[in-house]
């Protein structure tokens, strides 16, 4: 299947979960409803499309502008040699999404990092803790609301230097 009808095939197989199909600088982008992310990605991982690699999971903070966080998944299918970007928006108030831990094993750390940096809770995640920052760290640094240079030292620092 060529790239065009691949997208149509995906759209038809995922049905109403797909909100929009876009193209950004030549890459295929699929916008999916937040609650349909897990079944959609599970389907994409299986036979006809076999997106075997969860390349990347990250999050973009549009809280100030549009009051939402946008989860961005990148999938890669080795047999088709093609990349797919999937976007799902979660409300900024109480950002929560379904976990992918059962489908891919690297999802555990990826989701822990997004939780640590943005505060997006992933239901069903076995061990949702901070990954990059430390236990006593309040707030989520990559949110636009978090000041860039607000340090939270773990041990008292000599400031007379």
């Amino acid at each position: 299947m060529g790239p065009e009808n691949l997208i149509d095939a995906i759209r038809s197989s995922l049905g109403e979960a797909v909100l929009d199909v876009a193209d950004s600088f030549g890459d295929a982008v699929l916008v999916i409803r937040a609650d349909a992310v897990r079944p959609a990605l599970a389907a994409l991982r299986e036979a006809p499309f076999d997106y075997a690699l969860l390349l990347d999971l990250t999050c973009v903070d549009f809280a100030a502008a549009e009051g939402r966080f946008e989860l961005v998944y990148h999938l890669y299918s080795l047999s088709r040699n093609v990349r797919l970007r999937i976007k799902a928006s979660v409300p900024a108030g109480d950002p929560a999404a379904a976990t992918l831990v059962g489908l891919w094993k690297n999802a555990e750390w990826l989701e822990r990092e997004v939780y640590d940096m943005f505060g997006v809770r992933f239901e069903g995640h076995p061990d949702l803790r901070r990954l990059l920052t430390y236990e006593g760290f309040e707030g989520h640094p990559l949110r636009k609301s978090y000041p860039w240079r607000l340090e939270q030292p773990r041990i008292p620092l000599k400031d007379d230097v």
Binding site: F25, D27, V60, H74, K105, P141
Partner: protein, 443 residues
């Protein structure tokens, strides 16, 4: 007292809990593995990362597109030019810049040099941590020669920021062919010595063959890419899957392992270094010699500025040594022609009003490089795997969001599974063969 980590809650009372902590020679200083031991056998392990989280992505949201190039050097600091390349090509993809041929060839030359020095450093550390100190010294010697080639051209040994948006900063050093030839010869000699030392070495084989085995399904499920994925037999290489720059015109194979254990990761990296040396020779043949600068009188910048007050000066201006290679005649072949895509030539800035204005416009806040609104993802083949940059731009002079897809983040996430049930000593070669780089892992 810190709240109990996962391993402290699950550990059995009689087993011994040990920290293979951040400040450990084999943990590259930034990873803490908490091990639950039954004698020497590892019952359970938990990795704690983030000790080198330097807030890269937050810093990028507050820096202009041109200024944050220096941060990309320090991501995978073993092969810095490849990170430059990844970031720069993502921005070029958004701006639709056409990079001239010579700049593309120089970029391939520089990223292959970086790849060989990445594999050299990884295998040197892995061998030294398993006891082969001689291999470490040999490989560091070879890396010095490679860094000499990079230093002649870019001026810095490691953190070069040489590959810029739109092309490269300056032309190659006049004697770059000689230093490249010595570097390749020395590296081949070291590769022969090291494979003689390690390939059939029963101690090294005992510690790596059949240790840290991962199946193909697990490797894919963990999102592995690069030499570690190829060691399990899946020949996925971004240079072959999505050829960029001039890789489609160059001949090279993708070495593949079978069992996916430490030894295969070692041998895939060794064979990949030979392929990269081969690539270096092919690219060196493709790059034409730089045209010599036109002869004729050369005047001082101050004199040129004084003269240019009334009439345009035609003579060549003598630039300061650290601008060598980025003279105006050479700059055309090195950077994209788009306006405000790269730093304008110094000769124009000194003598013409338009040059001065474009120079200030480039560096002024709110002006300079501004890719169109939208988001883009582009990835290149780094030392550890697919180095991908996902950038969201809102049209301003600062990226709205910049995310790095770090290959070794996914590789290290599999470490707990690889060492569970093994002996304590197997952690070191397994972790060494993964080539964890703190800057890229924790960003």
């Amino acid at each position: 007292m810190e709240p109990l980590t996962r391993i402290e809650r699950q550990a059995r009372p009689e087993s011994m809990l040990l920290n293979m902590g951040p400040s450990h020679p084999a943990m590259h200083g930034t990873l803490r593995i908490m091990l639950e031991l039954d004698g020497e056998k590892i019952l359970n392990a938990e990795c704690e990362i983030g000790y080198l989280h330097r807030g890269f992505e937050k810093t990028c949201e507050n820096k202009t597109w041109f200024n944050l190039l220096i941060y990309t050097d320090r991501l995978n600091y073993v092969s810095p030019l490849i990170n430059n390349l990844g970031y720069v090509m993502t921005v070029e993809k958004m701006m639709g810049l056409a990079v001239p041929e010579r700049a593309q060839l120089i970029r391939v030359l520089m990223s292959e040099l970086s790849r060989v020095s990445d594999h050299l450093t990884c295998l040197a550390a892995m061998a030294m941590e398993s006891g082969a100190f001689t291999v470490f010294l040999y490989m560091m010697k070879a890396r010095e020669y490679l860094w000499d080639v990079i230093e002649f051209t870019t001026g810095a040994r490691m953190t070069t920021s040489y590959i810029r948006i739109g092309g490269v900063r300056a032309d190659l050093h006049p004697e770059w062919r000689g230093s490249l030839a010595t570097a390749i010869k020395e590296t081949r000699k070291v590769l022969k010595d090291v494979s003689g030392l390690l390939d059939q070495n029963s101690i090294f084989l005992g510690r790596t063959r059949g240790v840290g085995v991962i199946s193909r399904e697990d490797a894919l499920s963990y999102g592995w890419t690069g030499p570690c994925l190829r060691s399990t037999g899946i020949p996925y290489d971004v240079r072959k899957a999505h050829p960029y720059l001039v890789y489609d015109r160059l001949l090279f194979e993708v070495p593949v392992g079978e069992a996916g254990d430490n030894y295969d990761r070692y041998s895939v990296r060794m064979r990949e270094m030979e392929q990269s040396l081969r690539l270096l020779e092919q690219v060196a043949a493709l790059i034409p010699d730089a045209a010599p600068l036109p002869a004729g009188p050369v005047i001082e910048p101050a004199e040129a500025i004084r003269r240019s007050r009334r009439t345009r000066t035609a003579e060549r201006i003598r630039l300061s040594p650290n601008l060598e290679g980025s003279e105006k005649d050479r700059l055309a072949g090195l950077t994209a022609a788009a306006p405000l895509a790269s730093v304008p030539a110094k000769e124009d800035t000194y003598t013409t009003m338009e040059g001065l204005i474009s120079h200030f416009l480039f560096f002024m806040r709110g002006k300079g490089i501004r890719p169109p609104k939208g988001d883009a993802y582009f990835s290149v083949e780094g030392g550890n795997g697919e180095v991908g940059f996902y950038i969201v731009s809102d049209g301003s002079d600062r990226p709205y969001r910049l995310h790095l897809r770090a290959p070794c983040f996914h590789i290290v996430s599999a470490l707990e599974q690889l060492i569970r049930g093994r002996l304590l000593a197997d952690v070191i070669p397994t972790f060494g063969s993964m080539n964890m780089i703190g800057g890229e892992l924790d960003r």
